[in-house]
Structures are given as structure tokens and as C-alpha cells.
């Protein structure tokens, strides 16, 4: 045999072997479709449990769009690789998951593969859902299968090459999907472990609050160090938290359950949907999440604790007269009436020395809130604030935000505020049109006809 022949043979073997290996890694078998199950065949107690789990998992936040039917999908999720649209997870047999057996649902949650065997993009956070227990998956399945079936075809994802090829996802999973059930830490309490199971799994808090790497995976070395979502900053929720008053388990519980905590303020943006959902789950689960997250935040250092106490003491004192700057005048005229009043919501707001938005590294959240205000939540005694998008121009807003930063935080001034404000105005419109909003899909079990 000639030398070139040998080389050719080796190359051919390598190519075939490589292709076979890639196939073995990427190929997943389809799971046979079933006849859609009758809703009556599901145990009502299981469905109720599934409803609570779906609320803990914040499923409606991505799978329901404003003005759309519950869980019918269609939300555009922008990623650095293009736009992925959420799917229809109603039991419609043609366009939803009505023909999926429970086994297929569990595989999607565990391994990010649909019934036909196609890899799902990790915008669906199966890197977290992989640790959800069999029992919880069964309850979630029962809940989804008993929802109203909605016929809405999935929208075509708009991804750039090579990310539009699903085989790429198999490689991503090799690197970043760590399958396996939650392993309890026996040195911790049952409540802590329950919280860890939920936070790291179904509640997928890290999906927003942990920064992502160049391939869109969460950076395991920077857990809960803060991330970005829908032009909002998901704050660091570990020792790097910018909150003026350190969080503890009680404060976290109140905030997550009620959406408002007097020493920290109100949940806005995408977090408003999360707390809306958490108002309708068993209190014990929210308590467990708070317990675990308090541990993630860690006990504050003596300096940090003292700073928090100082801010709280200042918040109770009478306000100093604002300086004669433009921002100071606007604050005194437009904001102080509520924020310096000492009144509880809805007739007053928190003292802005307590505001995380003003002490955070990034001014986007503050810009978003001043522009759009805080809308009342239907059926709840919720905080309110009028938006100032139409009554303040960019210059006035920049002056106000600069003043708030100077007066109410210990942090260096923000730069380029006018650009941030212009960008916030632009993206806010898109967000309002697409997001489900906190009132669109309440998870309240009392509302039978809603999810």
C-alpha cells in the first residue's frame, strides 16, 4: 500500500469515527407520542401542587406574553446569539405538549431535549431544572396538562450561524449541563436544604442573578454576582450586594412574599413577576428560599452592618434642605413629598437612602423606575409611584439621577447618565409590549380560571 493510501485511510477512519462520536453525543431518540390524556385523569391534589411549583418556577414569566393566552409562549428572549422565542407549553396536541408523555416532559426538564429528540436552547433553564425531583416533575406535568389548550405555533428563532444548528447545543451541554438530583447538605437544616433545592433548581434564581460567560452559561465561579435581564440589572445577591441595609432571612421573606420590604423597597421590572408568583406558593417554601439566600448573602461585616444602621437612623431624621442644584430642586418638588414623608405606602415611599437602585453600580434600574413609575398591582395593596417619562426631559432626569446618587449613596458619581436614560426610554417601550407583566398571569390558586 502506498503511503498516501495509508494517510487517506487514517483520515477516513478519523472522519467516520469523529462523525460517529458527534452523532453519539448529539443524537437523542424520539419518545413516542401519546393520545392527549383526559384532564380528569389527573389527581386534583397533584394539579394544585403543580400550580404552586409552576409559580415557584416562574414559568409564566417567559411562557405567557402580554395580551396572550396563558402558557402559549411566543416571548422573544434576546441573547448575544440571536433571539429565541418561548414555546407553547399548553396541552394543545399539535402546537403544544399535548402528545408528550410524562417521560418526555421529565427528559425536557432534566436534559433539555424535546419529545422528538431535538436539543432545546438553554434559554429554557434546564441547567437548573435538571435537579427537580421526579415527584415535582410529575406535579408540574399534571398542572400543565390540565391548562387550557391553545393552538399557537412556535415562532421561528432568529439565531446567527452556527448557533442556529441545534447540534451546537449538545456541545454546550457537555460543557455546562451538570445533570443530577439535588444532594442535601447534611450539616444544614432541612429548611436550608429545601431552599437550596428550590433556588438552585426550579426557581432558577441564578439564571438572572449570575453573570454569564461568552457561551451564555452561568459563571460558576461568580454565583449570584449579578446579571442582566431585559435592560434591568439583576443585582448581586451575595456578599457583593449593593443594598444599603444588609439583607437577612426575615427581610428576604417579607420582600419575596409581599413584594415590598420597608428597609429595601419594592420589587420592580422582571422581579415584580417573581414576587407576584411567590405570593401564591406555600409560605414555607418562601421561608426556605429566604433562609438559603440569607446564607448566600452571608453575615454582613461589622463595617457593613454599621453602615446599614447609620442609613436607617438617617432615614428617620428630618430631611436636610436640598442644595440649589437643578437635580436638588427637582427632587424637592417631585420626589420629596412622598420619599421624605415618612409615610408608609401607598401614600409615601421609602427614604431614598435605603434604595438599592441608587447605591448600585449601574443606573439602569433607577432610570427605568423614574421613567415608568410603579404601577399598582390588581387586587393588592401595593406600592405606587407615578412615572415621569413625559413630564421630565432627558436633561432633567439626568440632573435628578445625578443628585440622588450624590445625596443618597456613598458611591462615586455615574457617568454618561443621559445615554442611559435615552436607552431606557427606548427599551422600556419594547419591554412593556412583550412582558407578561405582574398582573397578567397571577398564580393565585383562588383564581380558578387563571393559571
Amino acid at each position: 500500500m502506498k503511503k498516501s493510501g495509508i494517510i487517506g485511510g487514517v483520515v477516513a477512519v478519523l472522519l467516520v469515527g469523529g462523525a460517529a462520536a458527534a452523532f453519539a453525543i448529539a443524537w437523542r431518540p424520539p419518545i413516542a407520542a401519546i393520545e392527549p390524556a383526559a384532564k380528569r385523569s389527573f389527581d386534583p391534589a397533584e394539579v394544585k401542587r403543580g400550580r404552586e411549583l409552576a409559580a415557584l418556577g416562574n414559568c409564566n414569566s417567559c411562557h405567557t406574553v402580554r395580551g396572550g393566552k396563558n402558557f402559549a409562549g411566543g416571548l422573544p428572549v434576546p441573547t448575544p446569539f440571536g433571539t429565541v422565542f418561548s414555546s407553547n407549553i399548553t396541552p394543545d396536541p399539535e402546537t403544544g405538549i399535548g402528545r408528550w408523555p410524562e417521560e418526555a416532559f421529565r427528559r425536557a426538564m432534566r436534559a433539555g431535549v424535546d419529545r422528538e429528540g431535538r436539543h432545546l436552547y438553554p434559554t429554557f433553564p434546564y441547567d437548573h431544572f435538571t435537579n427537580v425531583s421526579d415527584d415535582d416533575d410529575r406535579a408540574l406535568y399534571a398542572f400543565l396538562m390540565t391548562r387550557e389548550a391553545v393552538r399557537v405555533s412556535a415562532k421561528q428563532n432568529q439565531l446567527s450561524f452556527p448557533f442556529d444548528h441545534r447540534v451546537m447545543i449538545a456541545g454546550w451541554k457537555l460543557l455546562f449541563l451538570h445533570a443530577g438530583a439535588y444532594k442535601p447538605d447534611t450539616s444544614k437544616s432541612a429548611e436550608w436544604n429545601r431552599g437550596a433545592y428550590l433556588v438552585e433548581g426550579l426557581a432558577h434564581c441564578g439564571a438572572c442573578h449570575t453573570p454569564r460567560n461568552a457561551l451564555g452559561a452561568e459563571q460558576t465561579t461568580a454565583s449570584f454576582a449579578g446579571g442582566d435581564v431585559d435592560n434591568w440589572r439583576a443585582y448581586p445577591i451575595n456578599a457583593e450586594s449593593p443594598a444599603p441595609v444588609p439583607w437577612d432571612a426575615d427581610a428576604l421573606y417579607t420582600y419575596l412574599r409581599d413584594g415590598f420590604q420597608p428597609d429595601h423597597g419594592t420589587a420592580r421590572g422582571p422581579m415584580a413577576e417573581v414576587v407576584s408568583n411567590l405570593s401564591a406558593v406555600p409560605a414555607g417554601d418562601v421561608r426556605a428560599i429566604a433562609t438559603y439566600m440569607a446564607d448566600v448573602f452571608g453575615a454582613p461585616s461589622p463595617v457593613r452592618k454599621l453602615q446599614g444602621e447609620t442609613v436607617l437612623a438617617q432615614a428617620k431624621q428630618n430631611a436636610a434642605p436640598p442644595p440649589e442644584s437643578e437635580g436638588g430642586k427637582i427632587y424637592a418638588a417631585a420626589c420629596a413629598g412622598c420619599h421624605d414623608s415618612g409615610r408608609p405606602p401607598p401614600y409615601g415611599g421609602i427614604h431614598l437612602g435605603l434604595s438599592t437602585a441608587i447605591s448600585a453600580g449601574d443606573p439602569r434600574n433607577l432610570a427605568n423606575i423614574v421613567l415608568s413609575g410603579v404601577a399598582p398591582v390588581e387586587g393588592e395593596r401595593s406600592p405606587i409611584m407615578p412615572g415621569f417619562a413625559v413630564s421630565m426631559n432627558d436633561r432633567e432626569l439626568a440632573a435628578l439621577l445625578g443628585y440622588l446618587r450624590l445625596r443618597f449613596s456613598r458611591q462615586p458619581a455615574w457617568s454618561d447618565l443621559e445615554r442611559t436614560i435615552a436607552e431606557a426610554r427606548r427599551t422600556q417601550t419594547a419591554y412593556v409590549q412583550n412582558s407578561a407583566g405582574p398582573t397578567n398571569a397571577p398564580a393565585d390558586p383562588a383564581q380558578r380560571d387563571k393559571p
Binding site: I330, A332, A333, A334, P346, M385, P386, V390, S391
Partner: protein
């Protein structure tokens, strides 16, 4: 003293910079179309137009109005020469108690200046923040659509075109 531009005229106003626009309009300028509803920017009855946009005057302090044009319902038309939006609301009998209507008309006006022929959806979305405890909502939607037609006609004739700055 602050100079406030209302309905095309400059007014010298003797009020603190944190005074809400609504108080100045009603108490100092005696322009009573804009109503005090909640005082919290939550009901819409105090809506006026500032630089072409619907603004809640109860939460807009004077300090934010320097150099800006304010238009109230009085600035659009009056009993003898009603503006298209006013005629339309009268012709459709869109007011019941009427307390919220001045605010509704101002936001509808701002919408019509931006979108000449809004759909029902657009009208509903735009007027969503306005609270009404009576029940003429369907008539209000009809009135806004009628106003759009009247504005088309008014644009062709030298009558009151009722355009807010």
C-alpha cells in the same frame, strides 16, 4: 415669580417651585377643567397636555415646566366654539357624572395628535390609566373615534381646529 405658558399665553405665577401644576391652574389661573381626583398620579382626572404629551398635573411641579407649553381643555375650545374632541364627547353623550371626562379628553387629544386614526385597541390602551366609576366607557371610545373624523373635517374648514401645543 414664575412664568408659565398656558393655552398660548404667558402667566406670571406667584407660587413655590414644588407647587403642583394642577393647583396653579385651578387656584391661581381659575382654569377648572382639570380635576383633583387622587392627588397621587393614579386616576388621570388632572390630565393636561404639556408639549404635546398627556401629563398628570397633580404630580407635575412648577419646576418641571420652565419653557414648556401647557394646554388645558379650556385651551382647545369653549361652549360657543367647541373643539372637535369636545363636540364629539357632547354628540356621543360620553359623560355621565363627567368628573373624569376632562382628563380623558386631554389624553385622547394627545393620542389623536400623534395617531390620526387610532384603533379601538390603541384607544383602550391609551385611556387605560384613567379611572371612571360611572360606565360610559363604550361611548368614550366612540367619542374618540368621532373626534378623529371631526378633526379630518376641521382640517378642511377654517373652524376651531382645537390643536394643543
Amino acid at each position: 415669580m414664575t412664568t408659565l405658558k398656558v393655552n398660548g399665553r404667558d402667566h406670571q405665577v406667584d407660587a413655590e417651585p414644588d407647587t403642583p401644576l394642577l393647583y396653579v391652574l385651578r387656584d391661581d389661573l381659575k382654569l377648572n377643567a382639570a380635576k383633583f381626583g387622587c392627588g397621587l398620579g393614579q386616576c388621570g382626572s388632572c390630565t393636561v397636555i404639556v408639549d404635546g404629551k398627556a401629563v398628570l398635573s397633580c404630580v407635575t411641579p412648577l419646576v418641571l415646566l420652565e419653557g414648556k407649553q401647557v394646554t388645558t381643555l379650556e385651551g382647545l375650545g369653549n361652549v360657543s366654539a367647541p373643539a372637535p374632541i369636545q363636540r364629539a364627547f357632547i354628540e356621543e353623550q360620553a359623560a355621565q357624572c363627567g368628573y373624569c371626562i376632562a382628563g380623558m379628553m386631554m389624553r385622547a387629544q394627545a393620542l389623536l395628535q400623534r395617531v390620526r386614526h387610532p384603533t379601538d385597541e390603541q384607544i383602550r390602551a391609551e385611556l387605560g390609566p384613567h379611572l371612571c366609576r360611572c360606565g360610559t366607557h363604550m361611548r368614550i371610545i366612540r367619542a374618540v373615534k368621532r373626534a378623529a373624523q371631526l378633526m379630518d373635517t376641521a382640517a378642511l374648514a377654517p373652524t376651531n381646529q382645537g390643536i394643543a401645543r
